[in-house]
Symmetry: C2
Subunit: 628 residues, 2 copies
């Protein structure tokens, strides 16, 4: 089953459909060969979509395989990432990879042809494999291309039928319809069979079409194995009139009689003997090369040029004034708009998060996703793919809604800034549904993330500005209420640093807080000072990475640490400090105050007290450590 060492024949946009059929068969053969060689993978899910992809790559996808970062190239998002054999077979057909790489490295350690595609491959923009995300990303990419860059390139998505059970697919299509993204086409591969049985709608392509149309997109129903019909549908889809979903009725395992439309073959490589029969049935190994349509030329500047211009003038605050960190975030974000690569995304709470300040200053780079947090993150990912610097903001509690999208963005090595406002029980009367008390755990556990939690307006503004130059996913946690400004505008707040706000040679305990609890620590230190107990106070504004040296020194010099956080005890500030102390080999006496019971409504003071994280309890914990 190795490829014949012949000179490849090239197939261009004008080749007739019989040649495209040969390409489709080659994609099938290579999907079977690669997965059988790997011993795992999803050949049958690849076979159903091979005709769709053959027509797309030969005649419609305007893409420069040698220069994948050509800013005028189309995008192809493989939402059904498990069909990676098909995608990699396309790479081979495009001449982007060789048969050897396909046959010897797929799904193997240390190689880039992974089980599900990731941007480690230059032709892949976003990692997929958690289903139902691809259309969302594509919407973000298409928005950036059309509304931010004003280019003519298109975004194509291959989506499975099973994944339409994910609500996120409908969040995405709703936005495609809302924005009338005529540069977006989804190829929906309705192969009827899911992982463990038939899909909910099986081959009811009318039902899919009705849903698509109801969500404001155009649906075109086709037989996904009728190359002419597919070609016409893709031509129509690209007519610039509407976002389109080509609802393609297909057969899972198409082309291999022993597995076609049969249950029990999801996610299984064909055994060697069956693979050999399949390759024969499909006409044997081919070596066609595709040279599809080229990207349209673009009159404007190349992709990332012209960015990072403009002076950023962050807001300044007077020490002692009471300003909410969310307010400072909004003001700093608006100021950051001077950098043309910065975009802001809102989930219909911009007047609470203060992200709307950006909207007032830079309406053309402000995107309202309504109450659809998953799509907000998907938009951010798509815009980051196009080189923009997204800031996506909602209540800290509601970022949990998009956890899987944030997780996958980390796999895609996306750079974006998230801000979660209204953290903790501090918010008061609205009650527990609105209180983010698990966001630090969620965001710290994101691979490569930076987690920042300012206590005053000056640091909030500075850190908001800093985030525009960080790599990876950064998270800013902000507070609802207004608290005194602690720092002068010239203070700097390096990532991985901290601020020691009270310090003396006689300190007998260190109080560590961030956000509202830092203010409680300061008040507790006053109270302790009145009793003759000197307490050091550390503002741990950088939760990840954390300031190991300062914490270790505090542990050594004061012998005791109280960490207090407006968050559940697991995965937040306290455990970040414990990990830092473990790294440093420091062993202070330790107390950890956090939210351990379900809060209700109340005032901030009542709730901090009821949850055991108020100044009184900080002072009490400090006294107990000092008296030990």
């Amino acid at each position: 089953m190795t490829a014949a060492p012949t000179t490849p024949t090239t197939l261009g946009p004008d080749s007739d459909l019989s040649r495209v059929f040969e390409l489709a068969q080659q994609l099938r053969v290579d999907s079977v060969r690669a997965s059988t060689a790997a011993g795992s993978g999803h050949p049958t899910s690849s076979l159903s979509a091979a005709d769709l992809m053959a027509v797309l790559m030969a005649r419609h996808l305007r893409y420069d395989w040698a220069t994948p970062d050509n800013p005028d190239g189309d995008h192809l998002v493989f939402s059904k990432g498990h069909a990676s054999p098909l995608l990699y077979a396309m790479f081979k057909a495009a001449g982007a990879i060789g048969d050897d790489e396909l046959m010897t490295t797929y799904r193997r350690f240390g190689h880039r042809l992974q089980g599900h595609p990731t941007p480690e491959l230059p032709w892949v923009d976003v990692a997929t494999g958690s289903l139902g995300q691809g259309i969302g990303y594509a919407v973000g990419i298409a928005l950036a291309i059309r509304d931010l860059e004003r280019r003519a390139s298109r975004v194509w998505v291959l989506c499975g039928d099973s994944e339409t059970a994910e609500g996120s697919v409908w969040e995405a299509l709703d936005k495609a319809g809302h924005h009338r993204l005529a540069n977006l086409t989804v190829l929906l591969d309705v192969n009827r069979l899911g992982q463990s049985g038939p899909t909910e709608l099986e081959w009811d392509t009318d039902a899919y079409a009705r849903r698509v149309e109801a969500f404001g997109c155009r649906a075109i129903e086709v037989d996904g194995h009728d190359l002419e019909a597919v070609d016409l549908a893709l031509t129509e889809a690209a007519d610039g009139r509407a976002p389109t979903v080509v609802v393609a009725r297909t057969v899972k395992g198409r082309g291999v009689a022993e597995v076609a439309d049969k249950a029990g073959w999801h996610g299984k490589a064909l055994p060697e003997d069956l693979a050999a029969r399949a390759v024969a049935e499909l006409g044997g190994v081919r070596d066609l090369r595709v040279r599809g349509p080229r990207p349209p030329g673009h009159p404007g500047p190349a992709h990332p040029d012209g960015r990072r211009a403009g002076p950023v003038e962050p807001p300044r605050y007077e020490v002692g004034d009471e300003v909410a960190t969310r307010v400072a975030f909004g003001a700093a974000l608006a100021a950051l708009g001077a950098r043309p690569e910065v975009v802001a995304l809102d989930a219909e709470v911009g007047n609470s998060t203060h992200a709307e300040e950006f909207a007032k200053a830079h309406p053309e780079r402000y995107f309202q996703t309504y109450i659809a947090e998953q799509q907000m993150i998907a938009d951010a990912v798509g815009m980051a793919v196009r080189g923009f610097r997204p800031y996506a903001t909602t209540f800290a509690a509601f970022l949990t809604r998009a956890h899987d999208f944030v997780r996958m963005a980390a796999v895609s090595r996306i750079t974006m800034a998230l801000c979660g406002t209204h953290c903790g029980v501090e918010i008061g009367a609205d009650g527990p549904s609105q209180m983010g008390v698990e966001d630090l755990a969620m965001m710290r556990a994101v691979l490569g993330s930076t987690v920042l939690y300012p206590s005053d307006a000056t640091s909030a503004a500075a850190l908001t500005t800093t985030m525009a130059d960080l790599d990876g996913i950064s998270y800013l946690r902000t507070t609802r209420g207004a608290y005194p400004v602690l720092y002068d505008g010239d203070e700097t707040f390096p990532v991985g640093g901290s601020k020691t706000l009270r310090e003396s040679a006689d300190d007998r305990v260190t109080l560590v807080g961030a956000g509202v609890t830092l203010h409680e620590c300061l008040a507790a230190a006053e109270e302790l000072a009145d009793e003759g107990v000197r307490a050091r106070v550390v503002d741990l504004y950088s939760v990840k990475p954390v300031d190991v040296d300062t914490l270790a020194r505090a542990a050594r010099e004061t012998g005791a640490l109280v960490v207090v956080e407006d968050h559940h005890p697991e995965g937040g500030l306290g455990e970040a400090v414990l990990s830092a102390l473990a790294v440093a080999g420091a062993h202070p006496a330790f107390a950890h105050l956090a939210v351990t019971e379900l809060p209700g409504s109340g005032t901030t003071g009542e709730l901090l007290d009821a949850c055991g994280i108020s100044r009184t309890q900080v002072a009490g914990a400090a006294r107990a450590l000092v008296a030990r």
Copy 2:
């Protein structure tokens, strides 16, 4: 604005609509009064839905306010939980609470009339306030009532228009249509205005209706302030033919001219003077009492009777046999089916998670939610509301999709068991999109959760069984691959315990692992023993609560701990151990091995090694600690 101390007039199901109008005005007046008295809240969002709720409670909701746990009573889910003034005004109209409680405790500390409703109130089944969740819960409740209990009661949902931007709404309606849940009615309050501006679809009720119909439900469009039309719509909705969404065009702030259909009034209590004018405009304070329809009688046994029957015979395994913990989970779950309150939910991966074993044994209590993890959790919550014991299972990585639903389930104090399979880089070739490496952080941070992570089939089966008697949300983390059975079938695994698998008086280091890393620890201990270094090995199967005493003793007796986990370093096993040591005041030398880089595809061995969590690296870390 206090209520007049008159004797209330009672309004029954046969009262004419002019009386129902008076009730609606009373609900409006009380919504305004309560939120103004509290100084915060959402009066305008309450005013739009007052007519809908008046008709519902007077004529359609079959509910015994004095006996809210009557199993034959209907359910009302307030998906737009911010309209709590309206809900609480209904409670007052029903005689469930007094005017004094409404006027003096709403949104105040220590009281049950919180900013958003929670089940602390006996008439509330599920906490709401994170939008887009109510229909999902209602689907779960309706399924339990119809398919598990075979009762005639109905489920009604008040849903806002803004929240339909959440994909979860469409996951839920898809399932309502799929299951043909004719006992479910959604009242969609299309008031056109969101928090910060007009909604995406504004008053395009046709668009809503098309979406609803496309998702397999019946849509009835009405003027939401035309009481007769609403009454007819609710009568039709209850005809037993189809799940129904009453798409009601309404006016936000209806009845108060100064705020009606005006932007800028979302989530704002009316100032005292405006509130006084509003109450006057609405006809003043009333004291109508509603005695609506009664629950239908049910011939069968009362709600929770007849449960907990049947002997459970968990599977047994031979020590040394290689069995995956996910396999043991599936077998134990199937055995647990002997308890009729146990139900299982799958997100179309039952053949991978082995939840399908339950389907084979108890198909009538197995629910396929397809690839819709949010709805899977919503179904589980709804079934738990009806007294069932749900086990919901998917890949650990994909539980992140439902994080907000899990968070809210904790606010609702729901008891349910979750199982996440395919955890960690251990899974191998499928790559990072399928690897759950943040699930421990997510699940540990859930309020009141129990987190279990078995290393062998015996403990996996035992813990699966144990979960059926735990309160709150419990989580079982299982592994893809097969590893040797370590424990005899008679061993017990109490929550909060651990197992010390190797121990001697000469131990110089303790190796702590769970799941695949425990097997690496055992191998490392062998390697160290060959070098003359005795290592203790602890199986930390209970991650939350964690076995503080055993860890403290190990720290004291061996002086050094290596914790190794197939998870990111934040919020997982390592930080759980650090927190335990901090509680105990134990200060061993400490090394923490965890996944800190993005993994790719590979074999289990290659990936454990590449991520620094293999036996070789465990032994190396132990050596370094011993040599310190």
